[in-house]
Symmetry: D2
Subunit: 122 residues, 4 copies
Amino acid sequence: MSIESLESLRDHLRVFAKDRDWDQYHTPKNLSMALIAEAAELVEHFQWVEGDQSHLLEDKTRSSVEEELADILIYLVRISDKLGIDLYKAAERKLEINARKYPADKVRGSAKKYTEYEDKHD
Amino acid sequence: MSIESLESLRDHLRVFAKDRDWDQYHTPKNLSMALIAEAAELVEHFQWVEGDQSHLLEDKTRSSVEEELADILIYLVRISDKLGIDLYKAAERKLEINARKYPADKVRGSAKKYTEYEDKHD
Amino acid sequence: MSIESLESLRDHLRVFAKDRDWDQYHTPKNLSMALIAEAAELVEHFQWVEGDQSHLLEDKTRSSVEEELADILIYLVRISDKLGIDLYKAAERKLEINARKYPADKVRGSAKKYTEYEDKHD
Amino acid sequence: MSIESLESLRDHLRVFAKDRDWDQYHTPKNLSMALIAEAAELVEHFQWVEGDQSHLLEDKTRSSVEEELADILIYLVRISDKLGIDLYKAAERKLEINARKYPADKVRGSAKKYTEYEDKHD
């Protein structure tokens, strides 16, 4: 098996679910729950470490983090497939929104401005 | 702008953060928090609807769901970049683990077996 | 040990953290991460079951669910203590907000109205 | 209205849901989703700030944080009520588990030992 694109991952996941008769459980609602559960496992790895230390992972933790990231991608691709949403187009649109929402010259280098600016423009 | 691969999204996000001097905030720890916050916005859209109705989205909700999915992808790509993790390789590895963990003939068509099977083999 | 109020739980948790020198890790930021990780473990128990079946828990699951609920309460009390926030007063205030936000005669019996009403009044 | 105990909060929430005919939506599954969505709103307030700054909240943020904490408590009490789980007893049991799992003399003052110790004894 070789995954080289979101499409190949999507196709693989379709077969995987079909072979197990799991489409019945893969409603967007259920998949959103599965996705956040994986996101939380990611968060858990970082909860007691300092931010500036959080890129330094021991081998075992790094391997677990890789698994959580893979799980998030898997559920993200699966829910997008079920909803007929094109992730790349959605990302493009969001990047355009973000470019307008956070103009570089207005928000540069400040976490404070970051959120304040968001608040004012939401 | 055109996003056609995870690599192009990654590159775009690098420039976006650099232009705003936001790399200082983009620790894996902080990014994991941002990711789960977006995952929760996704969950919120589905919390009061029935599972079998959850693929039926009104236009406004559909548009919001698309944004949340994009945000999740964005933070997922960003944290993977910061950790030097290849998402496709991670997905490949996870799919192989899942194939061993959930043999089709053992878990077919049962949510009960689904989790039970997992419990016994974790 | 007997926990009979949020105050006694708070006091117990203070001693527990002090005895382990864990206050250094118990920043509101870190505690919010720990709390959501526990909330996700709760979600995980319900992700593949139907809503109307979700109150029917096998003994083993029920026992795990109890632990997750306890963990959520523990981190909730701990973060409130660290921020000097009175949970009962906060709940009182929120109930008053909700009573205004969701007038019974306007939103009765409809999940659709439920969220729509919220959207319009947010 | 005055909330002075988890019981009075529980009773208030029962009436609130009944008046709106919302019990039909308040399955444990749905309530777990609502709870994690609120937990994520809490996380969001802390995602770009340093841990040691995260107790310093501006008035507006503090007021929002209070609301999120109240919402978490509300859904926690509601789901416990729906499942017939006594939160104080659950907390007592969990504190006893934690006392055995994290002996003060073994884990004192080290986040590293904190998680390592947990890994070895899970």
